[in-house]
Every structure is written in C-alpha cells, then in structure tokens.
Amino acid sequence: MARVPRRILPGFRLTLGFTLSYLGVMVLIPLVACLVRVSSLTWPQFWGAVWTPRVRAAFLFSFEVSLSAAVISVLLGTLIAWVLVRYDFPFRRFFDSMVDLPFALPTAVAGLVYSSLYVESGWLGRFLVPLGINGAYSPLAVVLVLVFVGMPFVVRTVQPVLETFDGEMEEAAHLLGANRWQTFWRVLFPNMIPAAIAGFTLAFARALGEYGSVVFVSSNMPFKTEIAPVLIVSRLEEYAYPEASAIAAVLLGCSFATLVLINALDRWVRQNGT
C-alpha cells in the first residue's frame, strides 16, 4: 500500500481544507460549545448537578446494563463468528447477512418490536413470563435490546480474524500431539482475544450512549431503570440546560475513555501482530 508523495496526485490542499473545515463545523464547534458551557459552571454547581442520588443511580444502571450486554454480546458474538466462518450449514449465507441487520434497523423499530415480543401476550413473553422471566419493562429488557444493538460489532470484529486462521497452526498443533480441545484453548483462543476485546469495547461504548431502543423497552423509572441518556433528555425537557450539560460531559468523558481504549488496543494488536 505505497502512498504516493503528495506532489504527484492532485487535490491534497483542497481535500485537506474541506475535510478539516467540515469536521470543524460539524463536530468540533458543537463539542467545544458543550465543553465551554460546562466549564462556565462553578465547581459546586457542577457537583450539585452530577452528584445527586438520581444521577448516580442512572449512571450505575447505565454501567450495569451496558456491561452485562457487552459481556453477553462478546460470548454470543464470538460463538456466532466461529460457527459462521468454520462450519457449513443450510442458510449459512442468510444468517451471515442477517448479522448486519441491527446496523441498518432503526433503534426505534428495535425498541418497538422488542417491547411487544416479551410482554405477557407477546410471541416470546407467553412462554417466558410463566417461567418468571420478564423481558419487558425490566432491566432484563434493556440488556436484551442492548445485546441486539451490540452483538454485530463483536461478530464483525472477530470474523475477519477467524478467517485468517488457515488451518496451518492447527495442523502444527495436531502434529505436536495436541487434541482438538487443547488446540482450541492454547492455540486458537489466544489469537482471538484481541479482536474479542475490541468488539467488547465497541459494544460497550454503543450501549452506554444508546437511547432510542431503550426508551421503548424500559419503564424509565428514576432510581430504578433510568439510563443516563434518558436522564439528560428529561433535564432538557425541564429546560435545565446546565444540569443536562454537566451530565452529558460525564457521559462524554466515559465514551472518550472507551474510544482511547479502543485505539490503544488497536495499536497493541498491530504491534503484537496476530
């Protein structure tokens, strides 16, 4: 992938200028506006907006559901990627392309349909509710819809890595006397870990900011099933802009920390070249 010195191909200045101004206007200025608004708050004001029982409960709940959803996503997603890459079965291609559906399906639609599937009269709820599993208007409902949203990220990060396993490593392990389980556990699995972690981080970051699907499936009860983005919206509807921006700043901080983590991981994976 040789990159040509900038003199030969035209358009360097034009594209640089346009790209930077577009990003500046679209992304940086709004971001700076938010940060300036937050920094104009005094410390006690900021603290008073962020450190209340309701905000703490919302962040705690957000972290709980996002973390559970990311853990479930990484387990299911890795397994799905494995099966899709390694085995042949009827309708494999169909299931493979359906993995992308949550990328293309509006979150509001996902929320709507999940909320109707798991209620007592719903298609799945009628079997699950009698068993005591309540998948609607409960923390479980939020986790379910976040798994729907996050799982494809894991599949699509793990899948390309699995496709690079061409059987040679396994052949070597077999010749050295490893059985199938040892080969998987000692040879294949360690090579899948970096991609799985990257997928986990993506699913987690996405879950933390998710709003559309969650408002449909959660009862959004303050102190119980209210997530941080829902809290921001309710502060906005009270026209409490300073409080809303303070909470948003904390949420932004969490998202950026996740983003930095992804990039660090990406670099680490590249250096240790799988």
Binding site: M1, R3, V4, I8, L9, P10, G11, F12, L14, T15, L16, T19, L23, V27, I29, P30, L31, A33, C34, L76, V83, L84, R86, Y87, F95, D96, M98, D100, L101, P102, A104, L105, P106, T107, A108, A110, L112, V113, Y114, S116, F148, R156, G167, E171, H174, R180, L202, A205, L208, G209, Y211, G212, I232, L236, Y241, A248, L251, L252, S255, L259
Partner: protein, 307 residues
Amino acid sequence: MLLIVGCGKMGHEILAATLRSKRHLQEPWWVRWSLIVFTVAVMTVLIVIPVICVFVNAFADGPRTYWDRIINDQETLDSIRVTLTVAPIAVIMNIIFGVSAAWLIARFKFPGRSWLIALIDLPFAVSPVVVGLMLILLFGRRGFLGPWLIEHDLKIVFAIPGMILATAFVTLPFVVRELIPVMEALGSDEEVAAVSLGANAWQLFWRVTLPNIKWGLLYGIILCNARAMGEYGAVYVVSGRIPNETDTMPIRIEKLFQNYDMPGAFAVASILTLLALVTLGVKVILERRARREMELAKQMRETGTPV
C-alpha cells in the same frame, strides 16, 4: 479500524473445504452441530423473529387496513415527508465529505493523519442524545449563537436545519469508513498513471477513481441513508417534536406507541424495516459484484490481456 461493516467472506469456501478435507482438524460432529443449532437459535430469537414480528403485526388486519393507516394519517404522511427531506440532505453532505476525506487519508501521508482518523470516528463514541444537546447549546434560544440567529430571524434548533445537522453528525463516519479500506486496497498505481498521461484532477476523479470505488461508495451511501432515516436520539432532542412539521418516521413511531396505537406504530416501523432489509440485500449484491471485478482485474494483471 473502528467499524468493520463490509468485511469480506471470500475465505469461507476455501477455509471450510480445507477443514472438511482434514478430518482431524474438525470438531466431533456432535460439537459442531450443537454449536450450529445454538447459533441458529440465538440468531433466530434475536434478529429473525423480531423482523417477522414487525411485518406480521403491521399486516395483522389485512393489507387494506395497513395501507389506510399510512395513507389516511396526515401526521404519518408528514413524518415520511420530513424524513425524506432530512435524510437525503445529510447523506449528500456526508458523501461529499466522505469522498474528500477518503482521498486525503488513503492517498497522502501527512502529520496528524492518525488524529484525523480518530476525529472522524468520534461521532461513533458520542451518545446521540448528547449530539442533540450540543446543537441546542450552540443554536438554541439561549445558546451561543442564539441571539444572533433570533436577530436574523433564522431558526435552526426545533426546525429542519438542526435536524439535518444532527443526522449528519451521527452518520458522518459511514461513507468515509467504507471508502478508506477500498481505496487503500486498490492502491494508487492507476491514478499515478493517469496523471502521468496528463489527466487533470477532474478527469482523474470521474474517469479513474470513481469507477474503481463505485461499489464501496454505493454501499457506504446506502448504509449511511439507512442510519440517517432511522436516527432517533439526536433528532428527538433537536426537533422539538412538532406534529406535522418536525416529526420524522422514528419519532412518529414513538408517538403512536405512546398513544397505544400499536398497529399504526408497526405500520410505520414496517417501512423502515423494509429499508433495512433492502440495505442488507444491496450489500450482498454489491459484495458479490466487487469480488467478481477484483478477480477479473487480478486475472488481467496476471495474463496481461483484457478478459
């Protein structure tokens, strides 16, 4: 890479065949089949059943009633009109940006390049609700530009322009992210050849670059469009949810849902679900076509003759 949407499946046939031919590299049949059954079950419950559920609920009272629910509801019709106004403009903005940024990143080396890539990925990490909030803080009545906007009688927040900005922010990375890997894989040989033969920038783009990247670009556009039409959180915050004026289709779904009009909500949802399914279908077709062209190009390079 942050989002790998268009990852290839070229290797599967070869890989599966290799593994099949070597019995000792296969898991025992019962392990294989229980994993397959489990995967199919999970995918069915998580993804396939919800899709079927949308259409069954939408058509529960027959296609006639379904049609009436969409056509005879002025608010629903208006929400479709608003979505068809907001999404295309945001998508066009991101196409122009995407092509420009991909050219810059895939063809030139310059200091700060990796920072630029990180900046492009940033919208993935920002909660849509926060995007809406940022725009209100900037353009709202009490925002930084608020007084100036009121003075000039301009309305951005709680109106279409703000919704376009919010949608464009959220969907910003999709076209670029699709183009960069395609352009990097293609390399710049053909473009350098064109320039050395005297092509100007305009000819270079329309005659060489665009034909090469067209399938990747098309998929980027279609995915970006699906996301733009379905965007909810950011638009919810900046639109003000004025009926008949700033309600988009996803917001209309939420309003119908809140009014316990489930058939109506599912009718609107079915349109967006169809859009998502078409997006996936187009992806499959484009991937197949791109693969075929790649193989043809490889063959040409090896034999030195056009096929």
